[in-house]
């Protein structure tokens, strides 16, 4: 056994090169984007200084950071408002998307009848639908939720429907042979089989619900104390307060990245043992 263990020490050139390359790749995955990011920020700062660009057109990165700190109270309370709409609409998108998908999965007829409507809802730009929502819905939160939901639910619906329908034919026969009820087939076969598809849809929907929440707020044009980040951006735009505009923008994209990372982690944890997408490549 020791002979096998020692082979690590005497790798042939090809294997040694591979090991070295793997190590570089592992480090590079983090270092490279970080380095480029830092370089870009430095360049941004230099451009401001070299061209003496006024702060209300393009603030230096340091000023944006300072604003983030200075206006933290205002910005973070707005962030919370946006986050609330985002997560509520995402939750509703999951319930609505999975619920409709399960309903569609019960019968081809239901799917054939109603799926086109989901597509219509999806392809019509939300900004164009909003004036209608504005007429019919009074409550501000409900308006925003509805908007964000319309944007976010479709990827979950369409992915979960696809997943529920792509169960191995033999497995279906196996369940039939064992006298499985419709409910058992759904519970033990189709829902678990649809899980990777659903999680793929969830990752897309997470980003979309944030976009939906921000866009909805833009078109709703709310102002006042209980307004989200989008209102802060509009407001800052009117006042030529570019640093705050950048700070709010920074917070929105940071939120988006965090949502994506968290959902990716959840997806990985659920699928890591069995699904190809979450398995490390072996050899």
């Amino acid at each position: 056994m020791t002979a096998i263990d020692e082979r690590v020490l005497e790798l042939d050139p090809e294997e040694a090169r591979r090991v070295r390359q793997e190590r570089f790749e592992r480090i590079g995955r983090w270092v490279l984007p970080l380095a480029i990011m830092i370089l870009a920020i430095w360049l941004w700062d230099r451009i401001c200084v070299w061209n003496a660009i006024p702060q209300y057109i393009l603030p230096r990165p340091g000023v944006v950071l300072w604003t983030l700190y200075n206006d933290a109270g205002l910005l973070f309370s707005s962030l919370l408002v946006t986050l609330r709409i985002t997560f509520l609409s995402l939750a509703l998108a999951v319930i609505g998307g999975v619920g409709l998908a399960v309903l569609f999965a019960q019968s081809k007829w239901v799917e054939m009848s109603f799926f086109p409507f989901a597509i219509v809802l999806q392809v019509t730009p939300i900004v164009a639908i909003f004036p209608l929502i504005n007429i019919y819905v009074n409550d501000q939160t409900t308006k925003l939720l509805l908007c964000a939901w319309i944007v976010a639910f479709f990827p979950i619906l369409s992915n979960t429907t696809l997943g529920l329908n792509s169960v191995d034919r033999n497995l279906r026969d196996m369940f039939k042979l064992n006298g499985a009820t419709r409910w058992q087939q759904l519970r033990y076969l189709r829902l678990p089989a649809a899980m990777p598809y659903f999680l793929g849809g969830l990752k897309i929907a997470g980003g979309l619900s944030l976009i939906g929440a921000v866009v909805a707020e833009f078109v709703a044009g709310t102002t006042g104390q209980s307004s989200g980040l989008a209102s802060r951006i509009i407001e800052a735009g009117y006042r030529l307060n570019a640093p705050r505009l950048f700070a709010a923008l920074f917070l929105i994209s940071l939120t988006g990245i965090l949502i994506f990372l968290v959902l990716s982690l959840i997806s990985h944890l659920i699928l890591r043992r069995w699904h190809e997408s979450a398995l490390k490549q072996e050899r």
Binding site: N170, D173, Q184
Partner: protein
């Protein structure tokens, strides 16, 4: 349970008939005649192989027996008139067909779970069945972590955990390498000899069918039909010694000749038709 040694196929004894196919035919909606006028009697304790080229309807016959499909003509007569009880049938597919997200234990538990038996209550049966297919210690592994042969063992354990009277197998070992296939052949025979259930085994391998069965039913294609039947009158247990014996070689040649005739009969019919 007292049962006679069925090692030598019992002389056609009406009382031991399990299933009779009478004039069974199946025509698909695209006009293909998958099976035509199949008459076949399956006896209790038989290890019966359906041997034939692809397209001879052997898998269709198996699906009809399983009740996954219904015949266009003819009848399947269970025990002289009884209807089919699916809990008496185990089915092993060509692929392992396991739930990829569930552990080995949960995969074998599944048929019992679908009957409403809790994990704890099913545990003794599942554990015993896993031991029978030599998978003790792999309860918590997921299919992805197993080799092809081990996955097939799980599949067999799952089919057998309900103690079915009939085990239907649709080319279960076709995708395995020869060494693994031989081993699984031996283990399957061992299981069959201990439990004395009835096996209907679909294969396109002459060697496999002769090694395993007491009856080889050779089928021909276009239309799918029973061409001939061979009794393999070698005694059980059959082991590696049997696999290398002249008897086995002679039986294989015999079966091979019949299969060649079956294939030629199709070719002839094909040419005549044009």
């Amino acid at each position: 349970m007292i049962r006679e040694k069925v090692a030598q196929a019992p002389a056609s004894d009406v009382a031991s008939t399990l299933l009779a196919l009478r004039g069974v035919g199946k025509v698909f909606s695209n006009g293909v005649t998958a099976l035509s006028d199949v008459n076949l009697t399956i006896r209790e304790g038989d290890f019966l192989s359906l041997l034939g080229p692809s397209g001879c309807g052997k898998s269709t016959a198996l699906r009809l027996i399983a009740g996954l499909s219904t015949p266009t003509s003819g009848v399947l007569d269970w025990r002289g008139g009884g209807t089919l009880d699916r809990s008496n049938i185990g089915f092993v597919f060509q692929e392992p067909t396991l739930l990829p997200w569930a552990s080995v234990f949960d995969n074998v538990w599944l048929p019992l779970r679908l009957k409403g038996i809790s994990r704890a209550k099913a545990a003794p049966a599942v554990t015993e069945m896993l031991a029978r297919v030599h998978l003790t210690g792999f309860e918590d592994a997921v299919p992805r972590e197993l080799s092809g042969g081990m996955k097939m063992r799980v599949s067999i354990a799952r089919a057998m955990v309900t103690k079915p009277r009939v085990l239907l197998m649709d080319e279960p070992f076709a995708a395995l390498d020869e060494i693994t296939r031989f081993k699984l052949n031996n283990d399957l025979l061992e299981l069959w000899q201990d439990e004395r259930f009835t096996v209907v085994f679909v294969t396109h391998s002459v060697f496999e069918s002769v090694f395993l069965s007491n009856r080889v039913v050779v089928m021909a294609a276009r239309p799918g039909r029973v061409f001939d039947e061979l009794a393999i009158e070698a005694s059980y247990p059959r082991d590696e010694a049997f696999r290398t014996s002249p008897d086995y070689a002679a039986l294989c040649r015999q079966a091979s000749d019949v299969l060649v005739n079956a294939i030629n009969s199709t070719a002839g019919a094909h040419h005549d038709g044009h």
